[in-house]
């Protein structure tokens, strides 16, 4: 961590976005994570994504569970309300918050221990309910705050810092998200910000459950040889299947593409995802094809990254419940309380 306070004054030449904020306005407190931690890069990517999307910071609610990853919402979007909940239970709290006010943008930040171990059930159910949120797992395969135990996403055969070999099969959150009905599924790498920022932007603008698994090496406990979540290992095995460009409006396509190489997807918020396929065999609009490809390539030792699946017609929990467009937390007695007349009728029917 750093001990140097951030200067409060902004440089006058800092660029402002369409809603009048500079990138610094999206920052939070100084991180208390280790120097070089992948999670800090993800925080920086979130700052960048929100600034580029012209989101007003106070319209974002950021929620997390417990662990290194879950501390990070204090380190970005300082003008947003945040909630550091209990271990593994961010999805339910976020679900409740989302039900209360459907107009905010919900960002859920979690880790692999938080989402794949203690909170697997809540992760799964938030995905299957289609809670509109950007759900980011900062995945390092290890419990950092408690000093280096394997987490449930650690690959079988990977080695801990103390030299122990992991005997258990890993939980594949991306595969689960696909199976459970998430409508936006991506994987990024904290060391590749150019790829990560658009993935997060796409997730924030998505109209349903958006899941982004970000491999984020733990420099203190999982960055050694024998680890499959180290910077070196991920760089060597990273196979991007797509690149996305994120556009606020439909812009003219200027470059030349092979037929089928470019897919355009209009998102819930009206923005356009322009998806450039890097791999001819890969179709990110077909859920089960995506799932198969993922598993096949995982077997070959590849870490597949990019936007893996997107359903532009996604619907969220509110659509399923048919809740009022006016946020529930803004309704008053006039809308909610049937009054004495109705109560007299209820009484009469109970005699």
């Amino acid at each position: 961590m750093t001990y140097i306070a951030k200067p409060r004054l902004h440089h006058p030449s800092l660029t402002r976005n369409k809603v009048g904020y500079t990138r610094r306005d999206y920052e939070g407190r100084i991180s208390t994570l280790c120097a070089g931690c992948g999670h800090d890069s993800i925080s920086a990517a979130i700052v960048q994504a929100c600034w580029e999307l012209d989101i007003e910071p106070h319209r974002v609610a950021k929620l997390s569970g417990i662990g290194c990853s879950s501390k990070t919402p204090d380190y970005f979007l300082g003008a947003s309300h945040g909630f550091n909940t209990v271990h593994g239970r961010m999805p339910s709290v976020l679900t409740g918050a989302n039900l209360a006010n459907r107009e905010l943008i919900y960002l859920g930040v979690s880790g692999d221990g938080d989402s794949a171990s203690i909170g697997l059930g809540q992760f799964a159910n938030a995905m299957r309910r289609g809670v509109r949120m950007a759900y980011i797992v900062e995945n390092n395969g290890v419990y950092g705050l408690t000093k280096g135990q394997f987490s449930a996403t650690a690959d079988r055969g990977s080695k801990s810092k103390k030299g122990a070999l992991n005997q258990d099969n890993p939980i594949d959150l991306v595969g689960l998200a696909l199976q459970l009905g998430a409508t936006y599924v991506a994987r990024g790498f904290s060391g590749d910000k150019d790829q990560l920022v658009p993935l997060i932007k796409g997730a924030l603008g998505h109209g349903g459950a958006a899941f982004v698994d970000v491999i984020s090496p733990c420099v203190a406990f999982n960055n050694h040889s024998g680890s499959t979540k180290s910077y070196d290992y991920v760089r060597q095995h990273n196979e991007a299947v797509s690149r996305i460009d994120f556009m606020p409006t439909r812009e003219e396509i200027t470059a030349e593409y092979e037929p089928g190489e470019l897919i355009e997807v209009e998102q819930h918020d009206g923005s356009i995802l322009r998806l450039r396929k890097l791999d001819q065999d890969y179709d990110p609009t077909r859920r089960y094809a995506a799932l198969n490809t993922m598993h096949e390539r995982h077997e070959r030792g590849e870490i597949v990254t990019g936007l893996l699946y997107v359903d532009p017609l996604s619907l969220d929990l509110h659509a399923g419940l048919n809740t009022s467009h006016q946020p529930l937390n803004s309704l008053g007695p006039e809308e909610l309380c049937p009054g004495i007349g109705a109560l007299s009728k209820i009484n009469a029917a109970l005699r």
Binding site: E56, P57, H58, R59, A61, L63, P73, D74, G78, A79, S80, H81, G82, F83, N84, T85, V86, R89, P91, S92, V93, L94, T95, G96, A97, N98, L99, A100, N101, E103, L104, G121, Q122, A124, N125, R129, H318, L321, N322, T323, S324, H325, L328, N329, L331, G332, P333, E335, L336, C337, P338, G339, I340, A342, L343, I346, N347, L350, R351
Partner: protein
């Protein structure tokens, strides 16, 4: 042979097989007596089962209006061969056995001290209906008909009830009346010379009271109290509460213009997610609740601690059942008091509201939603299976048309804009309750980071001792504030001056009301205090201080309310005498009055009882 003789004061119990359709027939019987102007209080005694196991329905008929369980059975309607022997044994000497005489039962299976009424129910039904399900369902109506003839319940009352139930389905009205008359006619033709000693006679003691169950009433309270988010996981005996909330919302919470719903109900994956959803909604400014029972409370405790410390409005309705562990899921107890009052790790204390009947379930549920926002904390409504799942005669629900929702201390965008100081965990009003902001309120002011770890009054992370102490002491102050906001205890003065008192609460109320009467008949006078909430207001201490000895009547083994009183008020435990009932059945007046008389200080004992004790 002795013969129990009583008009409008008796207990009749139906022994049935679960899933045989008897529940609606039995309810029809109870309602018919109500329509005769005679108060009844029925209780379901049911197994954790869908079909096949024994189930009972015990109806207390009481013109005097006693709504507690009395104990003892005057008439048994023995429809279940599996439980025949035990059912028979329960009948008071001189009482009545009503049974299906289609198949011969050996003489050895009867008792010589009870009066036997055999009606060939199966035979009557089978000779009139061909379809197996119809035969079963109408057999139930036939026994209601036969009983109505024996007891003197007017057929017009049933006709009206059927007409209300089958409005628009006149065929069903006719067929049910036909079955009812089959039973009545058979009795008239075959038992004309026989009369029984228990009778129902028209009276006028029901008044404007309504007949409903606590779970529906609490759901209605949540509707009126403005709950918009409900999350729950199915568990007996609370499941019918969110289901009732759903049906009330479907009726009253649809936007007429758009057809959209002004509510969101989630059946979550477990109780942990249920409470998590409620915490999230409360944090974000929607009124939210969950309903559960003991095992659910156990699962929720981590979140309850977070809500306490992060100061988030949450309402939990705990329909208590028998514990520990899976305990007795279909039996009643008041055994979650300590689990709820001190739920979660660390120093935690929570507000409990304790309704006595469906009326208060409605009232307390609505009040809990106000209190949770006013106090920014968890508020429990501690009902139980006895109130929750049984229909009870209760005051009609009322609502003050001018009443609005107390949203508590929520700082607005305008106040923030005007430069008002905002410290999320700062006590600015001296009542321990801080101000909060809702997410999305103001572009640059009022945002804060909510966490379960300690922080300073401005919500900045801090592990400093003084910051932690400031918070914990403020939370204590807030809890003291709560003691004056919760429903006050109600005192009942004895008819003669006395130094004896009794404290009771919740579903014990109707049995206690009758116990006062029984005790006074025996010359024992007690002042009563019915607790309606925790923390305790000063009135509770004053009551204990003004009596030499105070009985504490509760339905659990470990005297949990006794513990709360002793601990929180620092009272000498010897001054509070435990009266405990915990076999899973609702406590009776007979039990309470006997237990109190047995524990009376020697000088107050009646001469006859003193002798009896010396002889023993």
């Amino acid at each position: 042979m002795k013969r129990i003789e009583s008009i409008n004061e008796f207990v009749i119990k139906f022994a049935n097989v679960n899933g045989s359709g008897s529940a609606s027939a039995n309810e029809l019987f109870a309602k018919a007596i109500l329509r005769m102007g005679v108060p009844v209080s029925p209780r379901n005694i049911f197994p954790s089962n869908i079909q096949g196991l024994p189930t009972w329905y015990e109806v207390r008929v009481s013109e005097q209006g006693w709504l507690g369980r009395r104990g003892g059975i005057d008439m048994m309607v023995a429809m279940n061969p599996q439980t025949w022997d035990a059912d028979l044994a329960e009948i008071e000497p001189g009482g009545y056995l009503f049974y299906d005489s289609t198949r011969a039962i050996p003489d050895s299976k009867f008792r010589s001290d009870v009066h036997v009424i055999g009606v060939p129910l199966t035979e009557i039904s089978n000779s009139n209906y061909r379809d197996a399900r119809q035969r079963q369902l109408f057999k139930n109506i036939i026994y209601v008909g036969a009983l109505s003839m024996l007891l003197g319940v007017e057929p017009e009352v049933f006709e009206k009830l059927f007409a209300e139930q089958y409005k628009g389905k006149e065929l069903l009205l006719a067929s049910n009346m036909k079955a009812l008359h089959m039973g009545r006619d058979w009795v008239e033709q075959n038992l004309s010379g026989f009369s029984i000693g228990i009778k129902v006679q028209r009276a006028n003691n029901v008044g404007d009271r309504i007949f409903t169950d606590g779970n529906s009433a609490a759901a209605l309270g949540c509707l009126y109290g403005g709950a918009t988010v409900a999350a729950w996981y199915p568990i007996t005996p609370s499941s019918s509460l969110p289901e009732a909330f759903q049906s009330y919302c479907d009726k009253f919470r649809i936007d007429p213009a758009t057809g959209q719903r002004r509510f969101a109900i989630i059946q979550a994956e477990d109780e942990i997610a249920s409470i998590g959803i409620v915490v999230g909604a409360g944090w974000n400014g929607a009124r939210a609740f969950t309903a559960t029972s003991g095992p659910g409370i156990s699962l929720m405790t981590e979140f309850i601690g977070l809500a306490y410390f992060a100061e988030i409005p949450v309402v939990i309705i705990d329909v208590q059942r028998g514990g520990p562990s899976t305990g007795m899921p279909t039996r009643t107890q008041q055994s979650d008091l300590l689990a709820c009052a001190y739920a979660s790790h660390g120093d935690t204390k929570h507000v409990l509201l304790i309704p006595e009947d469906p009326y208060e379930c409605f009232d307390h549920a609505a009040a809990a939603l106000d209190l949770a926002e006013r106090l920014q904390t968890v508020v429990f409504v501690m009902t139980d299976l006895d109130i929750g799942m049984n229909q009870r005669l209760t005051r009609p629900f009322d609502w003050d048309e001018t009443r609005t929702f107390d949203r508590g201390k929520v700082m607005s965008a305008a106040e923030l804009e005007a430069g008002r100081d905002f410290g999320r965990y700062k006590d600015v009003d001296g009542d321990g309750i801080p101000w909060r902001t809702l997410p999305g309120t103001h572009p640059t002011k009022g945002a804060y980071f909510t966490r379960g770890t300690t922080r300073d009054p401005y919500a900045r992370y801090s592990e400093k001792g003084p910051d932690y102490m400031y918070n914990m002491e403020r939370l204590t102050r807030k809890f003291q504030t709560a003691a004056n906001l919760v429903p006050a205890p109600l005192e009942r003065k004895a008819r003669a001056a006395t130094r004896l008192g009794v404290i009771y609460f919740g579903s014990t109320s109707p049995a206690m009301a009758e116990a006062f009467h029984l005790l006074e008949e025996n010359g024992v006078y007690l002042d009563g205090l019915r607790l309606r909430a925790f923390p305790f207001s000063d009135a509770v201490r004053a009551f204990i201080d003004s009596h030499d000895e105070v009985f504490v009547v509760e339905q659990n083994r470990d005297a949990q309310m006794h513990t709360l009183l002793v601990t929180e008020l620092e009272i000498d435990p010897a001054r509070l005498v435990k009266v405990l009932h915990y076999d899973g059945t609702p406590v009776t007046a007979r039990f309470i009055s006997k237990a109190i008389r047995e524990r009376l200080p020697e000088r107050r004992r009646l001469p006859s009882e003193r002798k009896a004790k010396e002889a023993a």
